[in-house]
Subunit: 314 residues, 2 copies
Amino acid sequence: MNGEPRLIERIRRKVPLRAQAGLVLGIGDDCAIFRPRGSRDDLLFTTDLLLEDVHFRRETHAAAEVGWKTLARGLSDAAAMGGEPRFCLVSLAVAEWAGRDWIDDFYRGLLRLAARTGTALAGGDLARNQRLACDIVVCAAVPRGRALRRDGARTGDAIYVSGRLGGSALGLAEGPRGPRTAWRRHVHPEPRLALGAFLRERLRATAAIDLSDGLALDLHRLCLASQVSAAIEAPPRFPGATPEQALHGGEDYELLFTVPPRTRVPARFGLTPLTRIGRIEKGRAGSVFLDGAPLPPLGFDHFRPSGFDHSAVE
Amino acid sequence: MNGEPRLIERIRRKVPLRAQAGLVLGIGDDCAIFRPRGSRDDLLFTTDLLLEDVHFRRETHAAAEVGWKTLARGLSDAAAMGGEPRFCLVSLAVAEWAGRDWIDDFYRGLLRLAARTGTALAGGDLARNQRLACDIVVCAAVPRGRALRRDGARTGDAIYVSGRLGGSALGLAEGPRGPRTAWRRHVHPEPRLALGAFLRERLRATAAIDLSDGLALDLHRLCLASQVSAAIEAPPRFPGATPEQALHGGEDYELLFTVPPRTRVPARFGLTPLTRIGRIEKGRAGSVFLDGAPLPPLGFDHFRPSGFDHSAVE
């Protein structure tokens, strides 16, 4: 469950734990984990909103890009837990301005990524609305009991990040007429599904999270869930991105993960660099230090009236 | 997948069938059906949008009622297929006007129905938005291969409906200061989960659908899926509801189902009357006749700019 932390904590406290219903993990990670009776797999479920004027603008974001990104956001959550996609459900509230072509292009973009990742479009809902809103649900599978979680990082673990950070924030800042690679990064993120499966199966990563709201905030969340602290240096930057964009810019959809200290991590996974950026430490749960100085959990928090800004978490 | 039929048909044609991924049934029924590897259960999934000024108004609908109804809509889809609820995911785009109390009340209403029906709240997403929007996903389970579907009605089957129809439309028309029972019907629908399980296990119903968009439209959909026609008489009416509200009013969330001609159907299930309203016939797929005259598939179709109206299906 994403969004404003205090509010989520308040909701979480209201919810009784229901292991008897097959729910292994509820609110608090990238996905919920459900264990079907007698199945060899656990199923992961995540849901993500994509809203006009909060996550995208009709003037700059093409329909096919919105479709792609809607699904990519959900798949990225599944990747962070090592899941293999099974299906998705798409709810689409269509604004007046979006005609038949827009809707066709939206599904074209979404289905292109779906085909590439083996994700079936199983259904959804359609309604008219003043502003466009999409909600995606992704279901992914992992072998029973093997999902990567946020809460497994231990003192001494090495902290790694995939890719180079800040590209999406740079793309958003410069717009579609800015650097093409950065804009592409912003509208066509590639969910790291193969990497997630590799982390789960081969590296036996202790914890993982996807970078949807920026390194500083997402590392803070991982540390909070694992009840540890982290000491890092500056992460690798996307060409042209500022240090601020690399630390606090959202929507990179790379993976942040931890491994036991002696695990050998390859320098690359396919074309994607894997970079050691620090170490898990004892200390106040959730605290993160960059080059020895406290790094505030500032990130791309949508639970703000102002939408596109990078604002503090309460 | 709900919404405008032609559009859904266009989306459906774009989607490849993916039985290999465990998807037994995709777009086209109340829920998608997914079969986890090795599991004794099939899982049902449905998603439903509830939008400000389309499905509810902040002036008239209390937060707890919106929360209840959000979940009730999803559970009703599960009921129509004979499912036993497992968990739900809730995406909430919160408008400026909705403060902390509103959000708390929303979850209070939702969790009250969740507790009553054994549905765990497994997670969701939160964002800020100009208008309030909720999206619910419900997962329910049925024994493998036993889900009730829309497409199993056969010539000669008897057609039944649960409850009395038009109450929700009456409640909506008269508002919170109108007849109390009708308003309650509109804001506190009771998903017919026990009835759905009874239809599946005991009555061996051949087909079922929930009445979310009105009898005329939903019976048309059932007949279309089953490639049959239907001849009915007027359904039982909610006290005070007009014949029009009973035929075309949406959101009653009763069940419409068919059984083989010789099946003995009790007059009541608990307190809910079960009424025979007609018979499945040969004929043009999807056509419905009321007392011998064609009944147009008019219903509560949200895929209209005007929102609250009852409009024709293209």
